[in-house]
Amino acid sequence: MERYGRWLIILPPLLFLLVFFVIPFLFAFKISFADMAISVPPFSPLVTTTPDDHVTFRITFDSYSYLVEDDLYILSYLYSLRTAFFSTVICLLIGYPMAYAMSRAPKTTQNILMLIIILPFWTSFLLRVYALEGIIRENGLLNMTLLWLGVIDHPLQIMRTGFAVYLGIIYSYLPFMVLPLYATLEKLDHTLLEAADDLGMPPWRAFLDITLPLSLPGVIAGSMLVFIPAIGEFVIPSLLGGPDSLMIGRVLWDEFYSNHDWPVASAVAVVFLVLLVGPIAIYQYYHNKEMEA
């Protein structure tokens, strides 16, 4: 009876994943082995039955080999990886002090600070990216202010650069870094730091020996929450980035909607997913370890 109960509880999320993740992914997986075709849908069937009941399978790895042959894909994977990596590192460097300060603030202030961190989510993500464009574009708020102040004599080119992409990603994903960090730092037992102090360690050593290692689960959770969506980011590089900001999300979009090459687009998606499973597995590993402790 107890075993049925357990299954009953995990059944809804299992069904959800099956319907909205596994089945669509299998579709994409299937399409990635097909040929491009001028038809609706725009790919060849894998299994065909001739009128005389001959069943033929047609599977091709062309899409995958195409990914390797044209260095556009490898370059954009690498570009995405690099962008996501540095965005994550910068988010961590900005987010850690923020989360630390929050966790040390008086309880009532903590709630206000938390509200401020979450506040941007009340506005649509797209609107916020457009607002960012309004600030950094050639005749935007930032350039106008700097020109007026006389700091610069001609507008800075920020839009359509890699810098703008970083700015957009870091701005958008910083809360995802701050919140899990805050959650781990907030529950850190303060007497541990007193104990370190008592045992002869000055505060900076206590931070390195106690606070930092114990906040590692938060660092990992925050990093995954920034890294995983950042690597597949499509909106920010399209709206803020230049033609050289070839992130994999944009390539995927172009293959589907501009080139109508569904098989290659699917192959890009499948490889992309496999590349992402690695970080997720690491995250799960640390998460489980934290649960055990």
Binding site: T191, D197, D198, L199, G200, M201, R205, L214
Partner: protein, 379 residues
Amino acid sequence: MIPSPPQPDRPWLDPQAKPQIVIEGVSKHYGGMAAVDNVSLKIYKGEMFALVGSSGCGKTSLLRMLAGFADQTMGRISIDDVDMEGVPPHERPVNMMFQSYALFPHMSVEKNVGYGLKRMKLDKEVRRQRVEEALSMVQLGPLGQRKPHQLSGGQRQRVALARALIRRPKVLLLDEPLSALDKKLREQTQFELMNIQEKVGITFVFVTHDQEEAMALSTRIAVMDRGQVIQTGTPAEIYEFPKSRFVADFIGSTNVFGGTVLDATPGRMVVRSPEAGCDLVVDEIGRFAPGQSVWVAVRPEKIRLSKEPAAGDRINQIKGIVWELGYLGNHSTYRVKTPTGQLITAYAQNRRRTAEWAIDWSDEVYLSWDADSAILLAH
């Protein structure tokens, strides 16, 4: 021949002795509230000194000021003649064992214990040896590689103790050292703690709300209430000669009768007590005058219970009915209702196995005590 047991020394009785810790007029205010209010104490080297009181009495605040986690609002604390004002915890010659133990969860037992040596310029081999010594002292030798969450409560307590002693502090501060242990383990650990203190020979200052623990462990006790030290003394002094009704009630249990002094002859004071229903004789050389209202306090174990009235002059004898009876194995607790309606508690040792049948519920009994068993307390 039986070897003589170790003799305790009593440096506080020696006017020549120099105290190791001097607390002078120390107060700590939080907002407008005085958590510690003008406390002065002298603690001598090698003492096992207990700060006792109910929660919120300021004992923990005082301990934290000794450790350096809080600064006093007023007053002075010095250890070995060094003023501790402004000295941060990591530079004080004291270490603390925390109530929650505060073990570092991500470090092994060995790393926890050795943590205090990391900033000391020590040879690696010496460091390893000292960790080993500390672990074997608390009998945790083979568990060095375990993480704190893999240990039992008692083992964690030992790790905390070893960690706090590894720097060889002049003073060890212990915040409720035994409160997280169950009763059996607590009794056993009490003796171990005393043995270890004897071995390392340093001063222990500990805080507890448990008066039994304080009595069992300490050389001297300071009883605190609302930020002030009410009385300081050896466990026996505190128990047998409480200076106030608060101390008499807090340390152990006691029966109290209100009354007025009739005859103030030193050594044989007579108190007329309407609560007791008779005149009580107290062997006391106190500063009490006739007509003064006082309390007569008698500890339950000092009261005799019998079915027959005592022979002789029959002083301090009250008749009553057994109202409640608690059989506790080693002794029984009787609650006897007197004609005046007061409930008097008396303990009877169960010297014979059938002792509990001798006096039963609703039996009429006589309670009596000697004149030198009671104590007079001022109102």
